[in-house]
C-alpha cells in the first residue's frame, strides 16, 4: 500500500517537472473559475434570437453553423445549451451562497451556544438529511409553485445540512482551545470569540465545502427541472433540454442529449476536481482520511 503510494508520488514528480500540486491546484481552480465565468457571462450575453425558432432548420445534425445541431423547432442547441448552463450556474451560485450562510450561522451557533440551540440545529440537520434529497427538492419546489421560484428555493434551502455538520464539528474542536478560553476570561462575549477566533479557523473547511456544494446544486437543479418540477419548459435549462431530448433519441437524434449533457458534466466535474484539490491544499490532513 505504502509502496504503491510512494511509486505513484515519485512517478508524478518525475513526470510533471515544474507542475507541483500547488500549481496544479491553482490551475484547475483557475480553469474552473474561467469556465464558470465564461458560461455565466455568455449566457447573459446570448440573445434569445440566437436560439430562436427556425422551422426551416429542424433536426440538423451538428455542423459548422450549428455545432450542437438543432432541435424539433430548429433552435440552435449550442446557444440554448449555453444559456441553459448559465441559468443552472446562476442557481448554483445562489444556492451555494444561501446554503453557506445558513450553514455558517447554524454551525457556529450550535457549537458556541450549545444546549437547546445545539439540539435544535442537530434536529434540523437530521430532519433534512432523513428525507431523500431529491424528494425534498421536489417537495419544496412544488410547495413554492414550481417554476423558477420553486427550483431556486428548493436548491437553496436543501444544501446546508452537510456543511452545517462540518462547521459545527470544527467549531467544537476550537472551542476548547486555550486561546479561546483565555478570550472568555478576558471578558469577551461568546459571539465576539466566535467571530474573531473561530470563524477564521473554520474558513478553509467552510470555503472548500462551498466549492464542493456548487456541483451538487447544479446537478440538483438540472435533476429537478428534468423531472418537470423546476424551470418551465419554455426557459432554456439543461434539465428541460435533456428531458425534451428523451423523446427524440429513439429516432436517432443523439446530439440533442449528448452535447448539453457533456456541457453539464464538464461543469460539475471541473468544480469537483477544483474542490478536492483545494481541500488538499488548505487542509493537508484530509490526505490521511
Amino acid at each position: 500500500m505504502d509502496k504503491a503510494g510512494d511509486g505513484m508520488a515519485t512517478g508524478k514528480k518525475k513526470m510533471g517537472g515544474f507542475w507541483n500540486r500547488r500549481q496544479k491546484t491553482l490551475c484547475s481552480i483557475g480553469f474552473a473559475a474561467a469556465y464558470l465565468l465564461l458560461a455565466l457571462l455568455a449566457g447573459l450575453l446570448v440573445s434569445p434570437e440566437s436560439y430562436g425558432v427556425d422551422y426551416g432548420a429542424k433536426f440538423l445534425a451538428p455542423c459548422f453553423a450549428h455545432p450542437f445541431g438543432t432541435d424539433e423547432m430548429g433552435r440552435d442547441m449550442f446557444f440554448r445549451s449555453v444559456k441553459g448552463l448559465s441559468n443552472s450556474i446562476g442557481i448554483g451560485v445562489l444556492a451555494s451562497a444561501a446554503s453557506s450562510v445558513i450553514a455558517l450561522a447554524f454551525g457556529v451557533t450550535a457549537a458556541v451556544k450549545g444546549g437547546i440551540a445545539d439540539r435544535f440545529v442537530n434536529w434540523c440537520v437530521d430532519l433534512c438529511m432523513g428525507i431523500p434529497h431529491l424528494i425534498l427538492l421536489v417537495l419544496i419546489s412544488f410547495m413554492m409553485g414550481r417554476g423558477q421560484k420553486g427550483v431556486m428555493a428548493a436548491v437553496a434551502l436543501t444544501h446546508w445540512p452537510e456543511l452545517t455538520r462540518l462547521v459545527r464539528a470544527e467549531v467544537l474542536q476550537i472551542r476548547s482551545a486555550q486561546y479561546v478560553q483565555a478570550s472568555y476570561r478576558m471578558g469577551k462575549t461568546r459571539m465576539w470569540a466566535a467571530w474573531h477566533h473561530m470563524v477564521p479557523q473554520v474558513l478553509p473547511v467552510y470555503l472548500i465545502g462551498v466549492v464542493l456544494l456548487f456541483p451538487h446544486a447544479i446537478m440538483h437543479e438540472a435533476a429537478v427541472t428534468f423531472l418537470g418540477f423546476g424551470f418551465p419548459p419554455e426557459v432554456p435549462a439543461i434539465g428541460v433540454i435533456l428531458s425534451e431530448s428523451m423523446k427524440h433519441i429513439a429516432a436517432g437524434n443523439w446530439w440533442l442529449a449528448v452535447f448539453p449533457g457533456l456541457l453539464l458534466l464538464l461543469a460539475v466535474m471541473l468544480f469537483d476536481v477544483a474542490g478536492e484539490n483545494l481541500k488538499r491544499l488548505w487542509n493537508p490532513n484530509s490526505g490521511n482520511e
Binding site: 422551422y55 429516432a251 478536492e276
Partner: protein
Amino acid sequence: MRKKIIGMVSILLALGSVFTGCGTGAAAGEGSAGSRGQEHGSGIVCYVGHGFWDGSLDPVKGSFSYGYDFISNGLVRVNPKAEYEGDLAESWEISEDSLAYTYHLKKGIQFQDGSGFRAEDVVFTYQTVMENQGQNGEVDLSKVKKVEAVDEYTVKFTLKEPYSPFLDSTAQLGIVPKDGYDSAAFDQMPVGTGPWKVVQYDAEQQLIVEANEGYFEGAPEIKRVTFVDMDNEAAFSNARSGQLDVVMVQPSYAAESVEGMHMEKLETMDVRNISLPCREPGTFTNANGEQVEVGNPVTSDVSVRKALAIGIDRQQIIENAFHGVGKPAVGWTGNLIWGNTAEYEDSRAEEAKGLLEESGWADTDGDGIREKNGVECAFEVYTPADEQDRYMLAAAAAESAADLGISITVKQATWDEIVEKTNTQGAVWGFGQFSPIVIGNQFQSGRFTVQPYANPSGYENQEVDRLIAEAISANTQEQAVAAWKKAQAAYAEDYPYLYLANIEHCYFISDRLDISMDTQIPHPHGHGIPIICNMKDWKLIGSTAD
C-alpha cells in the same frame, strides 16, 4: 470522495446508456422483421398508449365510452360515416314529446359468460350507472328519469326533459350482465357481449384479449391480441426490432421508416383550437359567489380575433408543428354528421392587417407589435406541460401571428393552472367526440366559470344559447342536427376560438396486418386506443396467417 466517484460513474453510465440506446435502435432496424410476432402464433402485439391502465375496464365506470365494440357493446353505435346504427338494439323510436326512448333489442345474443342478453341486463347497467354517476365521468345519465323493461327484448327510457344527445349516451355505454356483474372484478376482467374477452390483465404491463368465438356478428379472424404498456420511445425501438404489430407514435416520428411496417395516418374528429377570451377586462361572480378576474383587453376585440382567424397560415403551422401531419381546420370536422363545414380561406395577411389598422391597432413604436391606446397587441397562450404537440402547435401559431403584428407568448403549465388562466388568457384545447353536446360545453354562456374546461372563452350570445337549447330539446335526430348547424353558423362571425388543425393519429402498422381502413370510424379525442374500434375486422395477410 467515494460518494463523488459514485456520482460521476453514474453520470457516465447515464450518458453511456444514451449512446447505447440509439445504437440498439439503429442496429435493430437492420434486423430481420421476419421474426415479428412469430412467437405469438396467430396473435398480434400492439402498443396503443397507456389508456388501458389509466382507469377501470368496466363500462359502468366509463371505460371505452366512445362506444367501440371491444369487450362490450352499446345499444347503438356509430358507423364509419359517423351515423348511428343499431348494435345490441335492432331499432329504436323516440316519442312525440322527446321524453321516451324505446329500444327493441336483438335476440339470441349471449354474454361471454354464457348467459343470455335480455332487457333486464340493459336496465341493470343503466340503473347501476345512474346510482353511481360519480364513478362515471364519461356517460352522463343525469337527464334520465327512469329505465324499465317493457318486455324481455324491449327497453324504455323516460327522460326528465327533452335531451337529444341522449342517443349518443346509449352508444357510449356498454352493457354488462346483470347476474354476472362484479364491480371489483370488472375493473380488470369485464364480461360483455363484445368480440373480445379479457384473458389476462397485468396492471401497467399487458392486457391480453382473445377472440370471442360466440360473437353475434361472427368471431374475429385474429385469435389473440396482446396490448403492452411502455413509453412511446421504447415502443418505437421495439417496433424497429420487430416485436410489435401496431405502434402508436407522435407526429414527429411520422417521417421515420421501420422495416416491415408502414405508417398510417388515421382520420380523427379531434380539432385543436386556442380559446380567445371574449370579454372586456373586469370582474365576474362565479358559481361559488367568488369575484374572479376575467377578460382580456386584446382578444376581447373581435377584429383581433377575426384577423387571427383569416390572417394566419394554417398549412404552414401544421408543417412546422406537426411535420405536415394533420389538416387545417376552421371549425368542427366534416366527418361528424352535425359538423358545419362552412370554410373560409386563410393566409389573407393583407386583409387581416387592414382590419387591425381599421380598428386602431397600429405599430407606432416600430417594435413589430401593434398598439392601441397604449395597450400592446399581445396575449399569452397556455399549453399543458406534458403535451409537447400542443406546445409546438401554439408556438407555430405564434410565429404566424407575429407576421400580423400580434404577439403571442406561449407558456406551459399544469391543467389546474390553465383552468384559472383561461379566464384572462388563451389556452390550447383539443376536442373531438361524436356527441354534439360539446358545442354546448364550449359556447353556452351559462357555463362560463361554472365547470373547468367549459366555455373557456367566456363567450356570450343569446342567439347561440337559444339554438343550443333548441337542438337539445329536438324531437328527431334531423331536427337536432339542423339546430346544431345553425348554432355553429351563429357564432362563426365572432371567432371565440381560433381553430387551427384537425389532427391525424399516426401508427406504424405491420405489413402483415390489415387494419380494415374501410370500417375504421373517425377517431375521437385521445391518441392511442381509438385504432382498435374495428379490431374485430382486422386480418393477417400472407403466409404468416396460419
